[in-house]
Amino acid sequence: MIYSIKILWLLLKTQIRSQTQYRLSFLADVFTTAIFSSIYFLAFALILQRFETVAGWTLGEIAFLVGMTETSFAFMDLLFSGFDPDSFSPMVRMGSLDQFMVRPVSLTIQVLGSRLILRRMGRVLEGLAVLAFGIVTTQPDWTWLKTFYLPVVLVCQVICMGSIFMMGSTITFWTVERIEAVNILTYGGNELMSYPMNIYPRWLLFIFTYFVPFIFVNFYPTLYFLDKPDPLNFPVFAPFLTPLVAIGMALAAYWFWGYGLRHYQSTGT
């Protein structure tokens, strides 16, 4: 275990070093990523000048929702760069995954260490800025439990979305090509969780409550942090289901990844 972590750190360190060689270019890349990522929130802030609230949520409250999911999605996107179906599918196609398999280190560690897109730091910073804006404008009533629970929720979100990334990549063992429909759950999931979820059609809510329980990942915890009434009348423990969902999704991803590996057949390249 300690050996694996050491290897992972070594792999990541080489990535970091190579990407920060041209410091100015790197900083510019981080900066443009931050600006680019903020465009959608900016547009939303502008449209609220005409409408003022959406489903009873103010700009600051939406900023809290957006800030949470942006931060954790961006951090996940950074950490799980290797599992990004966009880069994982070429690994399957070109057979570079076969090289990983003959090495005496866990495959998961090697895939994680194979890529770290550092410019995605820009999006993490943007998410944190939006979250900070949300916290400052809404002034939530911080209890001990809330202060403790906030980082827990963020970590759980990273795990949930990372699991989806891993499952999306596992599918490429069979399909070879990346499946664009996985974007519905990754980028789409991030977008979905950026707004109060009771605005969506019932059938969509049903899917994201019982099949892919994204509703407990961001919407319910935020209701709890901001002391907002629950428009859907779920039991009071609903905001605290986040860790359970995270564990469930992580286990599913872990099992599916293992299953995929056992059935992996090289493309022969």
Binding site: I39, V54, E177, A181, Y195, Y200
Partner: protein, 263 residues
Amino acid sequence: MQAFLKIVGISARQQMTYRTALVAGLFTNLFFGILRASLLIALYQGETSVNGMDVGGAITYVALSQAMIAYLTIFGNTEMGRTVSDGSIASDLIKPVHFILLWLGRDLGRSLVNFVVRGLFFIGLFSLFYSLYYPLEIGRWFLFFVSLIFSWLLNFFWRMLVNLGAFWSPDIQGFARLAFGFSQLFSGFVLPLRLLPDWFSRLSNWTPFPGMMNHPMEVYLGIYSPSQLLGAFGHQLIWLFILVFLCLALFRLGIRRLVIQGG
């Protein structure tokens, strides 16, 4: 001309080959379309009309703009820029068609396929979920299609302009991402310009971007008065001239700097 049509045909066939990708793209567009429509419906809540656009109009706007994502390549790409960095541009330069026309043909073929598969099919699917507006006058359909052709050209030349930057910089990815981000916002793709504050839509009218998305959508919805209609087409035409001129000029300058490594 014949060579040009050939390029269009080949590119269309190429695009048709990836059928699963087309269908996957269609469903991704559909999912995001539903999210965007839900947000606008929630925003309207009780309001009948905001700055000349009602809920039905806003939903139709979302439907059309989602349907046109692939046809207009609204998220941009750096395909041409990459041929400069990897040198494969050399084989394009010896073709008996002007370089920009060559790419225009490639884009056109792909866009025509996307117009049908990810455009018309999308509208069909989306109308199962939401009721959309359809203009009843033939004239408005005609104006819409003319405006849509202009918006396609504007999108193409904007993309070309960004990609021409590759003659000067070895890596345009970051710059291109930002450039295409701005065009998404100022074109009214992210949210309809009419629903954003007035100062913002006035500002965007000083850029070529509203002509890439917002104008055809509002022509379709019939929101423009005759004089505004004239203004919208004038805006598209003027910017088209400017962008074409800039592309040709930059191409001539850039091609002189181009060095292709042998190998």
